[in-house]
């Protein structure tokens, strides 16, 4: 066996291991790859008018609802509306289920079931909700993103049964 051949074999083995490790990291970053993930990278947290929440990993609330990630983003519509709508529309383009309502030429409400990541038992369902009510004293844009094992009906039940406030 020549040296280049051996290097090829070892290189292949190394790359296989490397790719396996990277693949193992991917599920934890399932939100990555979505346009809306840019909202949760801390770029807007210094704005006091922005409310951003992120619950992920081994959290009791998530476990009890078969979720692995829950994120929300709320911001003034005047400043962030167009940007968030653009990101949502980009992700919604490949949605496998949707319910949308437009008002005055703008996306007012969008409920999207995005393409799951993984397959079979490792499949993770992803849901994206968008609201941009134009009425009210302070128009805002609201985005709720959820991912986990729960099915569409379970998400509907979860949203229906959540208390208005935790207290």
């Amino acid at each position: 066996m020549t040296l280049p051949n051996m290097m090829n074999a070892d290189l292949k083995r190394f790359l296989t291991i490397l790719l396996t490790v990277l693949a193992a990291l991917l599920p934890a970053r399932a939100q990555e790859g979505l346009e809306i993930s840019s909202l949760f990278k801390g770029s807007f947290t210094s704005d006091p008018n922005v409310t951003e929440t992120l619950i992920a990993g081994n959290q009791k609330f998530l476990r009890s609802h078969k979720l692995s990630l829950l994120a929300t983003f709320k911001a003034p519509a005047a400043k962030y509306g167009a940007m968030v709508e653009k990101l949502v529309k980009a992700d919604a383009a490949t949605a496998i289920g949707k319910k949308v309502r437009y008002k005055d030429g703008r996306l007012f409400l969008g409920l999207f079931m995005l393409k799951p990541t993984g397959s079979g038992k490792t499949a993770t369902n992803r849901y994206l909700y968008y609201l941009n009510p134009t009425s009210g004293p302070k128009p805002y844009v609201l985005l709720v993103y959820m991912e986990g094992k729960l099915e569409e009906q379970e998400v509907a039940d979860l949203l229906e049964n959540l208390p208005k406030k935790s207290k």
Binding site: M1, L3, M6, M7, D10, L11, R13, F14, I17, L18, V21, L25, A28, R29, Q31, F40, G42, T45, S46, D47, P48, V50, T51, E52, T53, L54, I55, A56, G57, N58, Q59, K60, F61, L69, L70, T72, K74, R101, F108, L109, L111, Y129, L131, P133, L142, V144, L159, E160, L162, P163, K164, K165, S166, K167
Partner: protein
């Protein structure tokens, strides 16, 4: 002292008899002992030695010190070192920079909180706003339908 090229004169004859199966058990055993000890490179002797398995060498003895094996070991060690040097820091970096992706965090009014109850309170409030939006949208759809139905009733298709 063994002479590599020295061939006992009667040995080829006895080998021929061995192949003819005309040796007694004692003679065959003696031949085996002799073949095991000789270093002669006579073709007939080499053939008999090969047949009797005297030329088989354990695999690990063949490769133990071969340069190819050493190169392979070095390359494997290098690959493992690269793996550790690249992947481990990457995992550590990923872990250190993803505290928000494995926990509970909220940014509200320019401040940050990691209190689960506070974060959930914000989440619940926002989800209830979403539900109000959905109800509003559904109500508007029903309103629209309410406007459409009288039109279709007065103008049946």
């Amino acid at each position: 002292m063994n002479d590599k090229h020295h061939t006992p004169p009667e040995l080829p004859d006895r080998i021929e008899r061995f192949f003819d199966c005309s040796l007694s058990d004692e003679e065959e055993a003696a031949l085996r002992r002799e073949l095991a000890g000789t270093t002669s490179d006579h073709p007939a002797i080499c053939e008999a030695q090969a047949l009797m398995g005297f030329h088989s060498i354990p695999r690990d003895r063949i490769h133990r010190h071969s340069p190819e094996r050493l190169k392979r070991i070095i390359l494997r060690c290098a690959a493992a070192a690269v793996l550790v040097a690249i992947v481990c820091p990457a995992i550590l970096y990923y872990t250190a920079n993803s505290s928000g992706s494995n926990g509970c965090i909220a940014y509200f009014n320019g401040s940050q909180t990691t209190d689960e109850q506070e974060v959930l309170a914000i989440v619940f409030e926002e989800i209830s706003e979403l539900k109000e939006g959905v109800a509003l949208a559904d109500g508007e759809v029903m309103e629209d339908l309410g406007e459409i139905i009288p039109i279709t009733q007065s103008n049946p298709i």
